[in-house]
Symmetry: D2
């Protein structure tokens, strides 16, 4: 038996861990794995792919990016089709299907975000044996409480804040850090809490510039001469884009038209009189080696995806079940340990990627 795997859209720390998990779990079942190059593009003639096995994927879970390559857009982009529905044109899908059939694939793991998974759903509805793995560094995919890559991005934000704080404190400045999050503020929120931000501005809470400046001023009054502000790239002031006064002759030389971070910085400098700088993390937060958490989550997702194919449970996406903080009686908590289940899914994941568990 042979299955295919591809990833599409922006790269994300943990992608290689998913591939590692899929290849390991498939190998245990005696399956072959075909990895398509550059996402769906690799399925179009001339097909570009490689056979993945435990030897040529050894250690990849530690690497950022994806060994398969990826594309953000391409021939597989949805277009207006029959009945005005946005979908991938059928001739493109059919062309890819020929590759799929020629390679005798019996399942396809598609790793991607909202757009990619919409395509996965279309393929599914056309009868493809597809399973999905959610991928979004922003952690904003519905139906999964956590996505791999998010923890790595948050860690980058924390690293950034650690670096900026020493400069902000030494110079008595405000520094604004613009981070990813076009629609959702998860990275800003988690990164800001962990990294000691004094204000966090996210798309879900349209901000009031007066409140932000008041927070800066209050810190000054309390004897803290600096402030760190994290702004998600999609954050906007109340009233929206147009309410954001173009600051003519902003004092800061770093004012730039492009980003919300620079604009917030310019407003703060103008209104509070405090020297303010802005930094855009940009691509620094999506690259690099994934954190331990993301490596494990990615591996686990990959192993689970193979299980779905094994059960022929197509049209499904693996998902991290919702986690939250609550309370339990103390007496339920003591005198009993939570041990590793020797037959449980985490030990299974380890065995799947070829780890000897001692027996």
């Amino acid at each position: 038996m042979r299955i295919g795997i591809l990833n599409s859209g922006g790269d994300c720390p943990g992608l290689n861990a998913v591939i590692h998990g899929v290849v390991g779990a498939a190998d245990k079942l005696g399956w072959e794995v075909v990895g398509f190059t550059d996402g769906f593009e690799g399925m179009l003639p001339p097909a570009r792919y490689q056979l993945l096995d435990v030897n040529n994927t050894m250690g990849i879970q530690k690497l950022g990016g994806t060994i398969l390559g990826t594309t953000n857009k391409g021939n597989f982009g949805a277009k207006v089709g029959a009945g005005n529905v946005m979908e991938v044109p059928h001739e493109i899908v059919n062309s890819a299907r020929k590759t799929f059939d020629a390679l005798n694939l019996e399942g396809l793991v598609i790793i991607g975000g909202d757009g990619t998974l919409t395509t996965a759903l279309q393929l599914c509805n056309m009868g493809w044996p597809v399973v999905g793995v959610p991928k979004t560094i922003d952690n904003d995919l519905h139906a999964t409480a956590r996505t791999f890559g998010f923890d790595s991005a948050v860690t980058s934000v924390v690293d950034g804040l650690d670096r900026l704080q020493t400069t902000a404190g030494s110079h008595g400045r405000v520094i604004v850090l613009e981070v990813m999050g076009r629609h959702a503020g998860w990275i800003a929120l988690h990164g800001g809490i962990a990294g000691g931000a004094n204000a966090i501005l996210i798309p879900e809470i349209p901000f009031d510039m007066d409140v932000v400046c008041e927070a800066v001023n209050q810190r000054e009054k309390d004897g803290n001469n600096f402030s760190l502000i994290v702004v998600a790239e999609g954050a906007l002031p109340e009233g929206g884009e147009q309410s954001f006064i173009q600051t003519e002759g902003a004092a800061s030389s770093e004012y730039r038209l492009g980003g919300i971070g620079a604009r917030v910085a310019a407003e703060i400098e103008k209104r509070t009189g405090k020297e303010t700088r802005s930094v855009t993390l940009g691509h620094l937060q999506r690259g690099g080696s994934p954190t331990a958490f993301d490596r494990i989550l990615g591996t686990w997702f990959g192993v689970e995806a193979v299980k779905l194919i094994e059960k022929k449970d197509f049209g499904k996406m693996v998902s991290y079940q919702s986690a939250s903080v609550g309370a339990v009686p103390i007496e339920d908590a003591v005198n009993q340990l939570r041990l590793v289940d020797p037959e449980g899914e985490e030990v299974n994941a380890a065995r799947s990627v070829g780890i000897c568990m001692g027996k």
Copy 2:
């Protein structure tokens, strides 16, 4: 209103984040917080404590260890009491209670592991207004799926494996890394998966030395000249301690009586003939700055603990609800984003620790 807080037992990355969360959330309610020094010991006369506020706890969430100090054992250790029950002697408890009352405390946050929480339960049963926060770097506390400090420890193991792999590969060696986990193998399991271990030995799965050596030999045959093995300190061979033959004249000069890692290394070298070394991570895995994940979880736990006191919901322990990986229909996952809830508990946690959320 005024509440107390203490931590007891071994230090753990994220302890200061809990304290930070408690102080921030209490401050929002206009409460004072008394932090006892060196765990329960600080409650015994002469009482040793400090008033904690948002200024003197600013930025502590980034620091490892605990600003309060802690003790592993002490006067508060359980002893055989009335009816042969193990408990803290009543005169000790009563002495501490006088401090508690003299300070006009109306609640006490106790951060600790199994032993400490057992004491918390005893106090609770004696009418103290107590709430618990679980602390174990081993992640083996029942009733919480995750504890802070665990992610940091796993990250240390991954760092260690990254370092050891280059030496193992360059010299064609086996290297055994002994990590924490007296009863549970969580650290070894997660660290090993994320760090690329070739074998993981945990207390929950008594190991077979032949199986381990076979894994090493098989790698050699497959052209991989090195192996990395993670051993939890509590792992044992099948048949238990006595079955582990004392290796007289073990070839490795690094053989030491103390740890299971060194003994496993000596056996592997003897049986496979491959040069084998062992390293014990020891205290390196419980110190240092907590990961972003642990800072957030700790903060969240602290904020939640104050909520329990506010609701007078004593005798409870905050808990991270169980999380696992499953599957959902792809169609449920697409076309809808998972956004931050502006009134949700994570935004609440940020506001609690004094972060301006823009309005």
Copy 3:
């Protein structure tokens, strides 16, 4: 005896190590140390300063920034004075001198870059007992082969390149990283060599856009689908600023007027047709905890500065003597070890900062 210390200009990793070294070495001699706040500004009435001792400076060598605070400009800025010479106005200097005398200082350690040291020289010529410590993250100060902070900045660049490479490789992109270096390309050069850059553009070598694009294209032909390019902020094309054609309608949305990095990126995308992105490291490269190298160099500089004052060798600046790579006969190199000199300057530096050396 009592001496003063101040730092002026931009913050730099290792500043606190210098302060640590000065305080430790002064303490050994029984001297007191007065640390002025915010550079020279702290010397003007009302004087702002703190007494520094081994207790309140303990551990600061690990922290980025400066515990004294600093200013980039201020009242101490040079102005055109008598005889058209740029210098600090005499009334400002005299005002500071009153503070100096009132505090009974017998020496002043001035840590700063070219501008600050020029002021130090002026003070010196006016009879102040001054010694200088060179500070420039750019490593471009004449008369010292190395400055603290440089190694930390280079390490930031390497971290950045590591992160960018995974994205560049996964997407088959060119990524341009703009780093510090207005006049000198040291950070770009060292960071680029260590981090695996494919092209490095520095102020000292006006670049030819055709050569850069040819390098990108050649890599493509050799099967390497991505390129990483490091650009010092002061790098310019041959022919200078005006020769850099304003790219109308540059394909990359990240094109910005401000930085050379964005402009180089836009040109590369236009000329090679390859998707190109740019990232500006900005303040991320001057903050954060200093590397081990910078902590040691800073400490050493601080200890040496006190020695100069002890010898009343004023008007001097401590300096790292030029180091380069050469060759020696192998026979001179073997059979003799290079040991630590128990009476040497490195052991002396350790003792100076209060480290017990075992006897």
Copy 4:
């Protein structure tokens, strides 16, 4: 023209940077490079080697260890030969020479420490066209002020101390960290200064246990409840090994016969009554990705070694010229920048490893 390269002895961060530099510089000259596997062993029949080129060595400067593999001992070990001189037996050398000649090599780069370089000298005296590159993580080779790998090892020690300090401080303990350095204390000295050690014990200064304990006690009196002590593995008390009383029934359970760190810890606990722990860094300090400094130094050494061969300047070893801290007149330091020399050896090194310098 074709040259060979090998490394021998323990692995060391930066080895791959040397290889990278050699291959890049040789490629510029149109030379081929043969890399021998596992040190000298790869030269003995059946010869084991690979052709190295810029493609198969791309990016290796970032990796720890060595892509060539290495051995600590082997057939090339010196034995008592003619005239009671320790040397590699002539039949071994002759056997290797046949490989050398069969491959038409015209130069050999030998990377190694004292033992390996002694062999290099013997080969040299037998007429081999050999150049040496010094390799010792301990930084104790005569005739070079710095060796690659040392900065990485020091950084590991600093990381370790950062982790240990939080535990030491939280528990009020003494923690002893044993680091490498059998003969020389460089790693302990630099790591201890940068990492905030309170005592440093090195082979060059036989220590007095009373002095060490007094330092611990004095810190306690000064209100610092913990101490961090760095011990080089080769440190010994005054009077030598035998003067170190075997501590029967040492209070610490971590007492072990093996290391000096554990023995020092046991003595401190016994004499001061303070809870004391020890940790051995071991192999953690020689592996992992090299620091930026070591990558650059390694690259530079590699490029320089090729230059020596080009000049047929055999029997030489590349060397980092001695660097120390001194003083210069401030007026010599200001108003002139130290710029990168466009024709200098650092730009040359960059060009040699294939980096486009913009023209």
